[in-house]
Symmetry: C2
Subunit: 234 residues, 2 copies
């Protein structure tokens, strides 16, 4: 570890990392998780490349952005690389989040281990329809949406997870901005018009992904048919 | 509409559309939905570009891939463009899907209107933990996972939505491949090793998106601090 520290350049200033590299980092995180689970302690860029189906030079380029984690002839220390990437990805930032919308989706999200694993603490759900308030969900309290401002006056909240009815999304998002939230994780497919200076918005477009699946299946079917027709002709 | 048909090139052969263009189409779909909801019947590429925050030439390029929907000096017919893009995205393909995993996530997915809007019909849930089987969920029957093969012998199933415990994912995916499913929509973050020839796999990595949100917030905070320090010095 000492040798590695010696060759590390300072990763303190991360301004120059491109959004494209950032979007690739979670994939490294997942593969490194698997390596750790298998008990593997080091890996070369070429092994990692083979595993992740990208080029070794892509890997070296991506990881060099952060000052270079590897050592020539040794490869990467898996635990060290995982810790660094976790750190860059804010897994140790300790953000508090509220889920807005305590319907099926909001309640399903509470049950996923994803938040805890990524260092995000769900502190409350807020009910926008007046039905679920008062009932806990997996130990997380559920409040009526009217209490959002009071709750935030007494509790630090960094992230709003938007899982309410589409018709409420824009108004709720604006309340989160006014309350000084740092980020919104938006599940509802409604475009939110904020710049990063106002609030960071990350969208999950489930419907988009479903349509891409549909489309790829349709194109696969067409190609199969085409190649059958071609082989019929031969 | 007649004029537009005259200038349409045949979109029958779609082999040359790049995956990058396909991945952008759902976004067009969403914006066109909004335009239709507002009652807007035509739009120029420059108006659409402004709305979607991309360049007009990007839009013309993307839509030209499919034979060109626009007419010089008229712009795009919104309903026609929406219908064409829906068609390309397989919204009218009428696929049947089963959700595997009837826990909170699986049950939440059933309640989302997304499937119906994208033309996908949820025909059953399968329970992998032996707790939920027998109970319906929003009118969709829930069966024990052991009955998957029998169900598929009697019902056409195109898509498997993977929402079960991570430990079951690889075995379940293989059963779907063996049953001749056309696609898997995988929510569990477990990498599946199939080529498109075997089955089309589309992954939803919720945890990746959460980490990117975390990371963008952390970097935003750092930048704020940097600029505060700079202004302190000035």
């Amino acid at each position: 570890m000492n040798n590695q520290d010696n060759i590390m350049k300072s990763p303190d200033k991360q301004q120059n990392i491109s959004p494209a590299v950032i979007r690739r980092l979670p994939r490294y995180y997942r593969y490194l998780c698997e390596l750790i689970a298998r008990g593997q302690t080091k890996i070369s860029s070429s092994e990692l490349a083979k595993l992740m189906k990208v080029t070794a030079s892509q890997i070296r380029q991506d990881l060099n952005c952060f000052g270079g984690f590897g050592m020539q002839g040794y490869g990467y220390n898996v635990n060290y690389l995982f810790a660094k990437i976790s750190d860059i990805l804010g897994v140790s930032a300790g953000f508090n989040a509220v889920i807005i919308g305590a319907g099926d989706l909001g309640r399903a999200l509470v049950h996923l281990s994803m938040f805890e694993k990524r260092g995000v603490n769900i502190v409350a759900l807020f009910d926008t329809d007046g039905e679920a308030a008062g009932k806990d969900c997996a130990g997380v309290p559920v409040y009526p949406i009217d209490e959002l401002e009071n709750f935030c006056a007494e509790n630090r909240v960094d992230i709003g997870v938007i899982a309410c009815d589409k018709k409420h999304v824009k108004a709720i998002a604006q309340r989160c901005v006014d309350l000084g939230f740092k980020g919104l994780w938006n599940y509802m497919g409604v475009e939110l018009p904020y710049s990063d200076d106002e609030i960071v918005v990350e969208n999950i477009h489930l419907g988009d992904s479903l349509m891409i699946l549909n489309c790829r299946i349709c194109r696969n079917d067409t190609e199969d048919k085409d190649s059958e027709e071609e082989s019929d002709q031969n």
